[in-house]
Amino acid sequence: MADVLGEIVDALQLIVTGNPEILGIVSRSLLFSGTAVILAILWGTPLAMLIAMKDFRGKTVIKTFLNTLIGLPTVVLGLILFLIFSRGGPLGFLGLLYTPAAIMIGQAILITPILVSIGVSAIESVDPEIMSLSKTLGASESQAQIAVLKEAASGIILSDLASFNRAIGELGVVLIVGGNIRGGGIRTDVLTTSISRDTAIGELGLAIALGILLVLILFTINIIVVVLRKASYLVELAKGPYSKLKRSRETK
């Protein structure tokens, strides 16, 4: 027990003194996961708009498929990406395996389903009249779509934060395609992989410090999510009496 307490004290010391090793790992985690989210936003947002705003056959199937992918174990995706990026794989010639690029692309793919799923429901929950309203005020098709997107803004931001949450906390993809490389020129070790490695080799102080920081990051993101939810809840509350009356009518 005393050992564990000692390790925790060590960990706190490492954090408070701003240990450069720890700072490096944390900033790599933030950079890789942040870039992954940006990548996923770039292709995920148009995809979410397409699914939410257009009527086409198989829409429900696609939505169900995306929801299923949210729960895909990260090690399975890691394995698939490893096979694609490895020398004999279809994208082996790019030489991406065990590089930061592989991590960022891998995480972006991992979080796309969650980003698109939440994005789709945010866009679908916007008053359908907003599209017609923008158009009758003179908006072109794309300007009207942007108006809808703006109405869904808090939900979209929520989907981006949830995606970041998933990316920074996952281990499978980053370990398998990143390789958790500590030495040499380019490092690919991040918070989750370092915690796993440091625990295995008995560097408990370092592992605990990284663990605390990872939880702090996740906690901060969740606080932002709660604040955002509350903001949109307040908007709902402002419309309150209406929904209340509607409910009471339905129950009668």
Binding site: T136, A238, R249
Partner: protein
């Protein structure tokens, strides 16, 4: 008089359901034209076609002399705007709401600020620029929606039941605005309504609608003068009843509208008479109230519609009456479906059409 827009044999169907049936209609420059008819008669769909946000299934629409290609109506949409019946505002400030169309038209900021201010003055919401539009009352939101359309100064202004969800004060403000922009800014207006009273005083011409068809287009005086011809389309309009009038000893008349309902009116009438009672002029109570009002009927609530900040009720007293009360009264009185209530209105509140 020049024609702004014209519908030729325009039909709109959703699947097998025809909602607009071979409609021919010319809208003249500078006029207020009212589409008058019961709910579901196709008024909204015609307005959406005139706003170029709904494509006709068949037929032709011309706008300012040119045939409209519904594959791309971006150009036409800049010249025709629709205010929806269900108030819809963007979840942002009142300023951003009203300036939206001006931004799309790339109007410079100073002009935009000036125009927004002017529009807010017109709808009597001075100084509301920074308020969150979603946090305004229903009536104020509808006024923002009207200001947002007015500020664009379009050739054609389309209003779908602009006052249906409003209390008398807000409705009065809007009717005044509609009249002003038509007279002073020469804006051509097409408005849907099922309020007989409004149809009688605001428009230059009335198009009577029933089941997707336009049955008649003429001036209010003509339409209301020869009612009998189109009784069918009037019968379905809220609080409009037909019956035989008989003079009473007191110098008034009673109109027997059927099912034992006799409505007392101040005018001396004999024979067939059509009467209309504004839903806002009816007092609703849980017990019979002693008053000078000549018309008191007991009935049951058969339908409740929420039109924040108002509640619209259908009360069956033998004949269905539409009554509008505030939401506050509604909750304070603890009303519900099938509740027994009394409706009361003065003989002088009955409009003889």
């Amino acid at each position: 008089m020049r024609t702004v827009t014209e519908l030729k044999d325009v039909t709109k169907a959703y699947g097998n359901k025809i909602v607009v049936d071979a409609v021919n209609l010319q809208i003249r420059e500078g006029e207020i034209l009212a589409l008058l008819g019961p709910n579901g008669s196709g008024k909204t769909t015609i307005l959406k076609i005139l706003a170029f946000i709904e494509n006709p299934t068949s037929g032709e629409v011309t706008f300012q002399g040119e045939k409209v290609n519904f594959k791309n109506t971006e150009k036409e949409r800049l010249q025709s705007t629709l205010v929806f019946q269900k108030t819809t505002v963007f979840g942002t400030s009142v300023y951003n709401n009203i300036a939206y169309g001006l931004k799309i038209r790339k109007v410079p900021k100073e002009t935009r600020d000036r125009e927004v201010k002017k529009a807010l003055e017109l709808v009597k919401l001075e100084g509301f620029e920074k308020r969150n539009a979603r946090k305004l009352s229903g009536g104020e939101q509808q006024r923002v929606a009207i200001a947002r359309a007015l500020v664009l100064n379009t050739k054609l202004l389309l209003l779908d039941e602009p006052t249906a969800n409003l209390d008398p004060k807000n409705a009065g403000i809007l009717e005044e605005v509609i009249d002003t922009v038509n007279r002073e800014n020469k804006i051509t207006i097409v408005m849907a309504t099922h309020n007989m009273f409004q149809a009688k005083k605001l428009p230059h011409r009335i198009a009577l609608m029933d089941e997707g068809k336009i049955t008649e287009v003429s001036t209010p005086a003509e339409v209301f003068g020869k009612l009998s011809k189109n009784l069918a389309s009037f019968a379905a309009v809220d609080n409009t009843f037909t019956g035989t009038a008989k003079a009473t000893a007191a110098g008034t008349s009673k109109v027997d509208v059927g099912n034992g309902v006799q409505i007392e009116i101040t005018a001396q009438r004999q024979d067939a008479t059509v009467v209309f009672i504004n839903p806002q002029d009816i007092i609703l109570s849980k017990a019979a109230v002693e008053s000078s009002a000549r018309n008191v009927f007991k009935g049951k609530i058969t339908e409740i519609t929420d039109l924040d900040p108002l509640v619209k009720l259908k009360v069956d007293v033998g004949k269905p009456f539409t009554v509008q009360i505030t939401k506050r009264s509604f909750s304070e009185m603890g009303l519900c479906l099938n509740a027994e209530v009394f409706i009361t209105f003065k003989a002088s509140s009955v409009h003889v059409l």
